[in-house]
Amino acid sequence: MTTQIGPGESGPPRPPVPPAPAEAPPPRVNYLNVAYGVKSWLLTTDHKRIALLYLAGVTLMFFLGGAFAVLIRLELVTPAGDLVQSETYNKLFTMHGIIMVFFFLIPSIPAVLGNFLIPLMIGARDLAFPRLNLASWYIYMIGAAFTIFVLVSGGVDTGWTFYTPYSTTYSNTHVVAAGLGVFITGFSSILTGLNFIVTIHRMRAPGLTWFRLPLFVWAHYATSLIMVLGTPVIAITLLTVVLERTLHLGIYDPRLGGDPVLFQHLFWFYSHPAVYIMILPAMGVVSEVVACFSRKRIFGYEVVAMSSLAIAVIGFLVWGHHMFISGQSTYAGLVFSFLSFLVAIPSAIKVFNWTSTLYKGSVSYDTPMLYAIGFVGLFTIGGLTGLFLAALGLDVHVTDTYFVVAHFHYIMVGGAIMGYLGGIHFWWPKITGRLYPEMWARVAAVIVFAGFNLTFFPQFILGYLGMPRRYHAYPEEFQVLNVMSSAGASILGLGYLLPMIYLVWSMRYGPRASANPWQAKGLEWQTASPPITENFERQPVVSEEAYAYAPEEEARVV
């Protein structure tokens, strides 16, 4: 194993290395087999094991949130509200939103892949604060326990947005427990972000300068800034909602002169940037994957890195576009509209640069690349429809319709989950030391893409035609499109179940993976699969740029 990345080892484009020879090598100590037993997992401070704990947690919550999506789509097969009552339906979409946003999308890539990969990518032995890292997982699980308590004790019906005064005064459901669940899990997000920031600042390997960092690390740095600056605001916001319900604080109560719209400002100050917590890490994954499977350095590396920071910064200044019809002043609306258009620029920069990377690259279409290409297409659609919504006039027409639902699912499901699945496949050999079945994985990726579009594209049309969101019944003329959407959802569900099955299968029966099955660049591929607990046998030293896939060509340009 080499501990130094040097020029000359980039081969021609190659598919994954075929399975290892029949006779297995003698078992080698790695982070997975170094200790056994429940205690060795629940008390671990190894970032790689904690990442797997998170993987278990977010996978559970993903399928739980998915179950609510199934019920929602089942209800919407027919125009009449025949499967569930409207009160139940309100609880279904609320639980779907709370679980998917706070317990799956926000922790998914950072807490699983980021946790596992950031120390490996920067040549460190662990995150800066390993015990804090473990604590963050326990905090996440406590928050999840609150949410599951809400679930079994009757649910909550405010929508994941907890809008006042409904949440503070009128709702008769478990708002307090649900709010506390989100409040608590927020601290796990804060601690993860804090850990990443300190680790990236202080623990990079010798020679690993800021502009040699993989773009995955840049993306997580930007994400961590949002986690650290935004999450405390949602924490205090939900705390005031809880206090208002329990102690009648009254700061959102119109009867006392309180302003419910203040809640919306505070809520979206976090919850809009939270969208970038979901999408930025996925963008980081796509940068890694596109570079590897085009065998090229990312086009405009520095600009792509800076665009992550730009998204994080501008993302904090656009929250008002959620409130164009909430009685916000027209002038505020104008400014927020303009700033929302502005955030499209760094996003577009990324899309153009990934596309330019493909140009004249030697592109291969393995599973991670299928997800990455899917991401680029779906994110572009989601982003462009975001511009429709950022336009003051048009937004009035489509506010609170399925157009909005389709838009943010293109970003969160088409973007963030495609990125997550692509990343899970790309680094699966590193995480488990096993190769997944490539054929099945490609089939699943295509199913996910097709199922996704069939589910959510009809919703754009539904919304534009005027179907409002959050109703369990609808006029008959919308039925065809709704049936298409529900049919797509069942295909999408199959696409999500497949990886669950073959990835678990591969952990035991998959062929053993070499240290670097994709012939990829990056320090994480320079150590064994799976890595040892200390990550590297010797301290790696970095002597070249990131993504030096074609060093001789780079040299010629320079």
């Binding site: 850990n195 990079r204 650290v228 002169g257």
Partner: protein, 231 residues
């Protein structure tokens, strides 16, 4: 990053019991820990920020009600508490200084003095809270604004002032209630001789936290007690 000089220091530090495995040297470990604490304090600023925002907005909307409500707060007790808290920051700073010099007994003494001053602050705060309960100035069903000389429409936003008063000072007090056991624990560790001039990061970090809590009060005191009185 790591230089030859570091490599020398690293070998010497390798045997230090307080150096955790994933850091190269004690100074590197300390810098990371201190940096992490500062990032945490940034999150705390944002946490309190939501309430400060609400205060600013409602003070502008309901200026008269806020001025009248503010007059009912006990300026003397508030001022005494401010002095007590500033003194506790001084004793905390002395504690950190002593631990950096390796003076064990002085460290313990300064830290215990800090705890004592913090407890005095909380005691005075409790007296103030009780007064508000006695005068029905706690938000809720039994809130009464007569004593604030506010009538009709104007009396209602007074509840918002007191809601913010209790939320902001309550959150601040919660931070102190969390801080005091931490300082006691650090004092106990100091007593056991766990710190040295080379390694006393926990004392420093606790100090940073305590100063932060102090600074929050430095903002709360004028906003809640002082700036309304001149009108």
């Amino acid at each position: 990053m790591s230089s030859v000089a570091d490599a020398h220091g690293r070998d010497a530090d390798r045997h230090h019991p307080d150096l955790v495995h994933h850091f190269e040297s004690l100074p590197a470990q300390k810098e990371a820990a201190t940096f992490g604490m500062w990032v945490f304090l940034v999150t705390e600023v944002m946490f309190f920020g939501g309430l400060f925002l609400a205060y600013t907005i409602y003070r502008n909307l309901y200026f008269h009600a806020f001025v009248q409500s503010s007059r009912h707060l006990n300026l003397t007790l508030g001022a005494v508490n401010t002095a007590v808290l500033i003194c506790s920051s001084l004793t905390m700073a002395m504690g950190v200084h002593s631990s950096a010099l390796g003076r064990r007994r002085a460290t313990v003494a300064w830290l215990l003095l800090t705890v004592a001053l913090g407890s005095v602050f909380l005691g005075i705060k409790a007296v103030e809270y009780k007064d508000k309960f006695d005068h029905h100035l706690v938000p809720g069903e039994r809130f009464q604004a007569e004593e604030l000389h506010l009538e009709g429409e104007e009396s209602r936003p007074a509840q918002i002032f007191y809601a913010l008063y209790f939320a902001m000072t309550g959150l601040h007090a919660t931070h102190m209630v969390i801080g005091i056991p931490i300082i006691l624990f650090i004092a106990w560790m100091a007593h056991r001789g766990r710190f040295s001039p080379e390694y006393h990061t926990p004392v420093e970090l606790t100090g940073l936290y305590w100063h932060f809590v102090d600074i929050i009060w430095i903002f709360l005191f004028p906003l809640l007690y002082l700036i309304g009185r001149h009108h």
